[in-house]
Symmetry: C2
Subunit: 370 residues, 2 copies
């Protein structure tokens, strides 16, 4: 099994111990402020009646589920509040693999490494659909890789690491292919607030009982350590209604419930935060994207321009995408990224740079000096 975190650690340790100043563009932790209302919500909760410190419903605070349900246009009864998107994806993949026949979980290469780790933990075989040149897998290619053995198909849009946003037609096509093959589509949409293309389409827009959508507030509210996420399951009265029941049971027996202080503060932040907060974050990221890709262009690198999310992948001339390549880049110019080989075979000579540092401009200048 391979996990992003230990791999992150390897690179981050190398960067920390380097004999020079290093701009850290390795992990996906926002470097900007959460909304003020989030801090307010937590501070208020600290003074709540002690009864508010006791067990929340296992599926999450009712008011938080209602708030999310209203925003996503789903029924509160379809939602489980999870310990971040991590648990949401774990639940969705687990119950999908139990419920639908087949021994394989289909992932897109390059992929966020946790999906592969989870497939392995479930005893599933991970099978990879190449993302192709454009970064969005062609439904025809998905069809070539899917079979009676496919139990679950996982997509991530906007995408880590490629920065592409799947359009509605692609999402609908992939959902249709999953349904045809009696498989579950799991759509991880944790970067949905970071769409610059205007064409992001949630898998919730597709009518199908073979779909679970996962998400979290880790990125949108800049709180990766707080662990508040959710999964939207199919209609409980429909043909796949048991997915919710299975996930609720697994969630209860694994975690009992998510942590209540974080849930209470997120609820307050959702109630009080207007679109301007998200717009400002996107504007900041657009500036960083422009600065960073400008430098890559100037040095003749091949690179992705994010349509969504906050990662740029680049093939830096004469550097490569292995761990050793990344370490050489740290030594040479003091810029740390994540090796492409950590995400699969198809971008093994690329490096992923996370634009979550106020020093993106400095990193760009350093790369130009290569």
């Amino acid at each position: 099994m391979e996990y992003e975190t230990p791999q992150f650690f390897r690179v981050m340790r190398y960067a920390r111990e380097a004999d020079r100043d290093v701009v850290d563009m390795v992990s996906g932790s926002p470097d900007w402020e959460p909304p003020g209302s989030l801090r307010e919500g937590l501070a208020e909760y600290a003074h709540a009646d002690a009864s508010a410190f006791q067990y929340a419903p296992s599926v999450g605070l009712r008011a938080l589920r209602e708030e999310i349900a209203a925003r996503r246009g789903v029924d509160r009864e379809q939602l489980i509040i999870t310990n971040g998107a991590g648990e949401a994806n774990h639940l969705a993949m687990s119950v999908g693999f139990e419920r639908f026949p087949g021994s394989e979980i289909l992932l897109v290469d390059p992929t966020y490494p946790y999906y592969a780790g989870r497939a392995s933990m479930l005893g599933a075989t991970a099978r990879y659909v190449p993302a192709g040149e454009g970064g969005v897998p062609d439904p025809a290619t998905v069809r070539e890789h899917v079979s009676a053995e496919t139990s679950v198909v996982v997509i991530n849009t906007p995408n880590n690491p490629l920065g592409v946003t799947y359009d509605r037609e692609t999402v609908a096509d992939i959902a249709g292919i999953a349904a045809e093959h009696d498989a579950l589509l799991v759509s991880d949409e944790v970067y949905d607030h970071f769409d610059y293309s205007g064409r992001f389409a949630s898998a919730l827009s597709v009518e199908t009982p073979n779909r679970v959508v996962t998400n979290s507030f880790s990125k949108s509210l800049a709180i990766t350590g707080w662990r508040v996420g959710y999964a939207v399951f199919p209609d409980r009265e429909g043909p796949t209604g048991e997915l919710f029941e299975r996930a609720r049971t697994r969630h209860m027996l694994t975690n009992v419930s998510g942590s209540r202080p974080a849930q209470a503060a997120v609820l307050h932040a959702l109630e009080e935060t207007g679109p301007r907060y998200y717009e400002e974050v996107r504007a900041r990221l657009r500036d960083r994207i422009e600065t960073f890709t400008g430098a890559l262009e100037g040095m003749g690198a091949t690179y992705t321009t994010p349509q969504g999310g906050f990662y740029v992948m680049a093939r830096v001339p004469d550097v490569g995408g292995s761990f050793e390549s990344v370490e050489r880049l740290i030594d040479a110019v003091g810029v740390a990224g994540m090796p492409g080989e950590a995400f699969g075979e198809s971008r093994a000579d690329w490096i992923r740079f996370a634009l979550v540092s106020p020093r993106v401009g400095e990193a760009a200048a350093r790369l130009r000096s290569l």
Copy 2:
């Protein structure tokens, strides 16, 4: 599978909808204040630098692991901070069942129902050792029920629901039996701060590589909804060192990490809370125990007097221990407990009363009026 929570819900809904005032003694959520330093810790964290809101180490905040390690006399490297004792028990039972041969998990009857639910989720057969008249299973009886099929043995001391505290010799005997049969002992010690007998002995006091100890701050700091617990694994250099690695991987792929606001506040509370806080809570509970068992004595009931924890089990004359019995008791006198049948066969005609209500005296008077 049977879980305490849905069963709780059934009784709690009945109590809520009853046509009379009801004293709720169903669930195990403390009704007293957490230490002031816990609230302080959370309020301070709300104003921390935004970087403190990002990913904590997957195994938990280092300072919190160090604080716990120092208190428990173990190495920080043996600890994983979990999403409550719920996740700690899930991890311990999962990795034990993977690592040790056999298809069975041994539980003590009566048992906390989540253990049975977890065994079922793992595909294990739950086998039950009767607790016997005294409430602590005789090691000779444990030996009769253990076999080559035993993979994991779970004990809970101080005990929910029986209120007994296992002495050191019993814990050592059961640990020895587990080791002899190539099985893992999981000792859930979540009520360790509620020992009135002075003889509580953690399984950490036994030298064995076949043991995981689980715990949480849910009860000791009165925050069942915050979900901060931990598991202490065997020495990582020893023969069962892989248990830690397996649990770390499972924890990472399931939850990534526990919620950081709750961890930060618990750390502050541990640093600032002296023994007086715990003594006062115990004194309050001792008063409640005296009041409540006094009433049971007065009405000729058979009952347990807690040596630890905060549950009293009683066989109330002419009432019984089924869900219907509990509902009748709610209707008759407005006192709600948990049916003994929810905990297994051996106390199926008893009722468990949780002494976590300021109205224990009132409940006692109502029972006397039966």
